[in-house]
């Protein structure tokens, strides 16, 4: 008995089917409660006014943009070391979601930046690292699409994901070389005295939970689609072999 038995494709399809509706339901609940609470039942910030409320989309999306890549890295490592097919497919399934999260973070940041900073875009370290992360997602997805043989594609993309992670971290610190930019530092650390005030903090936590749940649900759903697609391909190949 180990957790690896849940990685068997048949088992995976079995346990995800009943779990998925619950995940989607919980995600919808958290997002609904968090966003409505955040948008309509928190006070306006005394300097930023109502624009501050975009953090209920911006921060969770940015969080998931990074975590999606980390999840892809872990899934790639599992595929490369233990060769669980579901793991490779999950990494593939997570990439477009992570890319969309990166885009949401960039766009909401731009919308917020215009009234507050007076500019949509600035080559600030944090903003630039997100743009770079977006490019990494693009390359990763392009490589998946380009290779026909599924196992070769899974192998090559997992190596790319590992090497890409190193370079993503390098880029993240390389852009710091330009000096501190416009973006504020971390305001949600667990170990700091001064954080965001509780009125904003609690609904933000709910939104973050909602985004995490939504991400897990979407990854599971897309992985199921990939498994089904591969089953169909296997069946077609078998039928062709019988007819020939």
């Amino acid at each position: 008995m180990s957790i690896w038995k849940y990685a068997n494709p048949t088992k995976f399809m079995g346990w995800t089917a009943p779990v998925l509706p619950w995940l989607f339901g919980l995600a919808a609940l958290c997002l609904g409660v968090g966003l409505v609470w955040g948008f309509f039942f928190t006070p306006d910030d005394f300097r930023q006014g109502a624009t501050v409320k975009i953090i209920y989309l911006h921060v969770p999306a940015a969080l998931m943009a990074i975590n999606a890549w980390i999840m892809m890295l872990v899934a790639s490592l599992i595929w490369y070391i233990r060769r669980h097919h579901v793991s490779a497919l999950a990494a593939r399934a997570a990439a477009p979601i992570g890319m969309v999260m990166t885009l949401i973070a960039l766009f909401t940041g731009a919308i917020w930046g215009k009234p507050i900073w007076g500019t949509y875009w600035e080559f600030d370290p944090r903003l630039t690292s997100f743009l770079i992360l977006f490019l990494f997602y693009l390359g990763y997805m392009a490589l998946w699409e380009a290779i026909e043989d599924p196992d070769t594609a899974a192998d090559l993309t997992s190596v790319l994901c590992m090497v890409g992670s190193i370079f993503a971290i390098l880029s993240r610190y390389a852009v710091l070389f330009w000096g501190q930019g416009l973006h504020q530092g971390a305001s949600l650390s667990l170990d700091k005295e001064e954080n965001v005030a509780d009125v904003f903090w609690v609904p933000l936590l709910v939104c973050m939970a909602g985004f995490v749940l939504l991400f897990i649900a979407l990854v599971l759903m897309r992985t199921r689609t990939e498994v089904r697609a591969r089953q169909i391909r296997a069946l077609e190949n078998r039928a062709r072999a019988q007819n020939a």
Binding site: L138, L143, T152, L156, S171, A174, F177
Partner: protein, 218 residues
């Protein structure tokens, strides 16, 4: 290993196009920039460090798909994989040969082209030094990218999409070193980090290149 290096160099020189083409491309990009942004010399002085680095990056990119493609097609890559020389060594040598045929000529030629972009006089030595330190990393990263896409029939465009994001740290430190040199600041921090990136890529990427080549040769 030396025999392989010499063979690659000889092929690059005798096949034509491989050796001088990257350099010619570099020259053309540098010459085109004043046409694009206008001939004001103070503007050119300000952007010259970045332009030199972006141009060398593009020139390195141009010849990447030749690193493994020909050897893959005629089967010599399979021979190399079964030879006593480890595949990691093959990756390293290929990167080195690529650097000697593109990076090194660029490094030597770049200061000679400095006047085209009205490069600040203080920046010449740092341009040479930063290119010398940084272009090997471009070749090594590119070799990894070339190994990734070697099995694909139309890998050229994909190769650029994969490799260019990996070039970002090298580009930032390299251009920053020249810019600080041009402004009379101390560029040693950027140069040290640039050297660190080169050393790091040569330490890690031969293994990744070999792993990817084994997958592609399977």
């Amino acid at each position: 290993m030396i025999a392989l290096l010499l063979r690659d160099l000889r092929l690059a020189v005798r096949a034509g196009g491989g050796f001088g083409l990257g350099l010619a491309f570099f020259l053309i990009v540098i010459v085109l920039v004043p046409f694009g942004v206008g001939p004001q010399s103070d503007l050119l002085t300000a952007i010259a460090p970045g332009i030199f680095w972006v141009a060398s990056l593009l020139a390195a990119l141009l010849s990447l798909d030749r690193i493994f493609a020909l050897d893959f097609e005629d089967g010599s890559l399979t021979l190399l994989a079964t030879s006593p020389l480890p595949l990691e060594g093959v990756g390293l040598i290929k990167a080195l040969a690529h650097w000697v045929t593109t990076g090194l000529p660029l490094t030597v030629a770049a200061p000679a082209l400095g006047f085209m972009l009205v490069l600040a006089p203080e920046a010449y030595s740092y341009l040479l030094l930063s290119l010398l330190l940084g272009t090997p990393a471009l070749s090594m990263i590119g070799t990894f990218g070339a190994a990734l896409t070697v099995g694909l029939r139309r890998g050229g465009l994909l190769l650029s999409v994969l490799v260019l994001p990996l070039y970002i740290p090298t580009l930032i430190y390299g251009a920053e070193a020249v810019r600080r040199g041009a402004e009379g600041l101390d560029p040693s921090g950027a140069l040290i980090l640039l050297g660190g990136i080169t050393a790091g890529t040569f330490a890690i990427l031969p293994f990744a290149t070999a792993a990817v080549l084994r997958i592609n040769l399977r």
